[in-house]
């Protein structure tokens, strides 16, 4: 294949070899996988001279390519899932994946059906036509690699207002570094509603390379609350993508809490295709050591009267690096758009770094859009106030950091148990910080 010849680095060559070896073994139509890999191979691993990847040089960060994880044995599955999920107290109906393969699935509540992705791909499930609804994501390297390698996942079809919560739990447990490519398609019919939790976990000390994509196609007047947690191990290189294609009068929220991974890149594409919808994208990132976490967000307002809210908080300790790139595009037809985007970072050490790049691109004249980005230290006067009341410095700092992150973790979250579980993650991070 001529396009493969354009690949240069050993990692890119290794990816091409891996794809050549794997494509006939992966479920579904090989042709669409080849198209996807072709889109990746044309440009290769993105690097710092590619604007969207300027602060997360994937070519430099991905020197080694891990082989695709093999399907785990029953014993491996049992071991991997023996650790209680962070959201256990919220008692969700859970579909668990181990090493990128479907492992266990609870019965789904009324209003939602689940079809394993491998099965859906093999049989050419009709809902798969809705994959790739946000076309702008198509050429993205992480998304294209996922499309080329996607092994398993689930198609969730939400047809009614689902009571309780549904959880997707991804655990990478194999002892050697492995790559996983999971894809979730959530099709929410008009007037339906779902609360979806998503967790990613892996062991410390193993350089896993999970690449996950969750695509939402949301019908008119539907409601979606999505919470994602990155609790991957300290050597993981995690790529994740959320796409959301929203109809009219939708209420959509996605929230990402990063408490793990050596390197993480979380991408969100949210497209307002129908009028009068509300979409919120939030995130809280906690970094220490040499961790690097990138959040890249593109919000496309194509329809009138939509409201988007984006709030990201980053607490950066050690030599951690946070990246926020957020762009709100307002198309000429998207009059009465109301968009607000905020990224705030608190640097807790001398060596932490934060890169903020908020952008607005507005082609309509009757809109309200604002963006802001801040970067600072904990306020000395606030610390003194708390210490003057008897709180030792670490406790005073923890209280201020918790309140700083809390806004992005809990704001707009209409679910106390999930909020408590997430704040538990924040508290554990603060405790580890000492």
């Amino acid at each position: 294949m001529a396009e493969v010849a354009t690949l240069k680095t050993p990692a890119e060559t290794a990816l091409a070899d891996l794809f050549a070896r794997s494509k006939s073994l992966l479920p579904g139509d090989a042709r669409s996988r080849e198209d996807a890999f072709h889109r990746f191979a044309e440009k290769g691993l993105p690097h710092r001279r590619v604007e969207e990847w300027k602060y997360t040089d994937l070519r430099a960060l991905m020197r080694e390519v891990a082989p695709l994880a093999e399907k785990p044995s029953e014993a491996d599955v049992a071991r991997a899932l023996s650790v209680e999920s962070v959201f256990a107290a919220a008692a969700p109906a859970t579909i668990a994946f181990v090493d990128g393969h479907l492992a266990t699935a609870d019965a789904m509540p009324a209003g939602v059906t689940a079809v394993p992705l491998a099965e859906a791909l093999a049989e050419g499930h009709p809902l798969l036509a809705k994959l790739g609804a946000v076309t702008d994501a198509e050429g993205n390297a992480a998304y294209a690699l996922n499309a080329a390698f996607m092994t398993d996942g689930v198609v969730l079809h939400v047809t009614g207002a689902v009571e309780g919560r549904v959880a997707l739990r991804f655990v990478t447990a194999c002892a050697r570094p492995a790559a996983t490519a999971t894809r979730v398609l959530v099709v929410v019919e008009p007037d339906a509603a779902i609360s979806l939790l998503e967790t990613h976990e892996s062991a410390h000390g193993v350089a896993h390379q999970p690449n996950s994509v969750v695509e939402f196609v949301v019908g008119d007047r539907a409601k979606v609350a999505h919470v994602r947690l990155d609790a991957n191990g300290d050597k993981a290189l995690a790529l994740s993508t959320i796409t959301a294609h929203l109809g009219a009068e939708v209420a959509f929220g996605t929230r990402n809490v990063v408490a793990g991974s050596a390197v993480s890149r979380h991408q969100v594409w949210m497209t307002f295709a129908g009028a009068d919808s509300h979409g919120a994208v939030r995130g809280a990132t906690m970094l220490s050591g040499d961790q690097h976490a990138d959040t890249t967000l593109v919000v496309d307002h194509l329809a009138t009267g939509c409201e988007s809210r984006e709030l990201f908080k980053h607490a950066i300790d050690g030599r951690g690096t946070g990246v926020f790139q957020g762009r709100i595009n307002v198309a000429p037809a998207a009059q009465k758009t109301d968009g607000k985007m905020m990224s705030a970072a608190v640097l807790l050490s001398e060596e932490g770094t934060m890169m903020n790049k908020p952008e607005l691109e507005i082609f309509a004249d009757d809109v309200q859009c604002a963006h802001g980005a801040t970067c600072g230290q904990l306020d000395d006067d606030l610390l003194f106030y708390l210490m003057a009341r008897g709180l030792p410095r670490p406790e005073a700092e923890a209280l201020l950091i918790e309140s700083f992150l809390g806004e992005a973790v809990e704001e707009g979250l209409d679910d106390e148990l999930v909020g408590e579980a997430l704040m538990g993650i924040v508290e554990a991070w603060l405790k580890a910080r000492g």
Binding site: L382, Y385, M387, R389, E402
Partner: protein
């Protein structure tokens, strides 16, 4: 209780305290009055342990122990409490969470058992009732959206809960209307005891009608220029600080 000896302090090379000496005894309420810029607030911050200042000389003894070596939280546990002139707003920190954290941190530092939640709730509610603090105020983030008077009442509530030995009130009367001044003063007076001392910093004699001092000290030019009984406050109210400023200039 509190002995300050020949305290000399600077901030960014500017001398703020210049040989200040002051003693406050157990059970005493001492007032410090003085013109703007005389160093009154700096003195309160230095006693409480703010780190912005360079201490060039002198010592501050609390019950004979030099507290200058201690961090702010250790001084708090030792019994120092500063009611701030401008209490800080802390968004996202629930008032009750803060109060409990502060109270239990001090108890831990003193090797006392921590209060249980019911014990804590009872203590807060009793203190809040005395200070006419409505319950919904306790449910909000600390000082966020509070009026000036509410913030000052919250300071006194903290004082009542933490039961410090040495209470410093930095211009507690500023921003208070007459009713709030009465409530706050009654809250302070209820805490007076022979085992506790107060250092009341104010510009005006008005506060001292409500919190009656045993001693009044005039501060100017970074030191105590004159000391006397409560009648000194009345004299200052009549004559102003001009004499002391003149001494400063000279």
């Amino acid at each position: 209780m509190l002995e300050i000896k020949n305290l000399v302090a600077e901030i960014e090379g500017k001398r703020i305290l210049d040989g200040l000496t002051l003693t406050v005894n157990d059970g005493e309420t001492a007032a410090i009055m003085g013109p703007n810029g005389s160093g009154k607030s700096t003195l309160s911050y230095i006693i409480a342990g703010k780190e912005d200042y360079e201490i060039l000389d002198g010592e501050i003894l609390l019950d004979g122990e030099n507290i200058l070596e201690m961090e702010a939280f250790e001084r708090a546990a030792a019994g120092v409490f500063l009611a701030f002139q401008y209490p800080l707003e802390i968004p996202g920190v629930a008032t009750m969470t803060f109060l409990k954290a502060a109270l239990n941190a001090q108890r831990r530092a003193r090797e006392e058992t921590e209060l249980t939640t019911p014990e804590f709730m009872k203590a807060v509610q009793e203190a809040a009732a005395r200070l006419e603090i409505p319950r919904d105020m306790l449910k909000r983030a600390l000082n966020v959206g509070f009026s000036g008077g509410e913030k000052k009442r919250m300071e006194i509530l903290q004082m009542a809960l933490l039961q410090p030995r040495m209470c410093i009130l930095d211009e507690t009367d500023s921003g208070l209307d007459i009713d709030a001044l009465r409530v706050v003063s009654e809250g302070v007076n209820a805490l007076k005891s022979d085992k506790r001392a107060f250092l009341v910093i104010t510009h005006y004699q008005r506060l001292l009608n409500y919190i009656v001092p045993d001693t009044v000290h005039v501060m100017a030019n970074g030191r105590i220029m004159r000391s006397g009984g409560k009648e000194l406050a009345l004299e200052l109210e009549a004559s102003g600080y001009a004499d002391y400023k003149a001494q400063e200039a000279a």
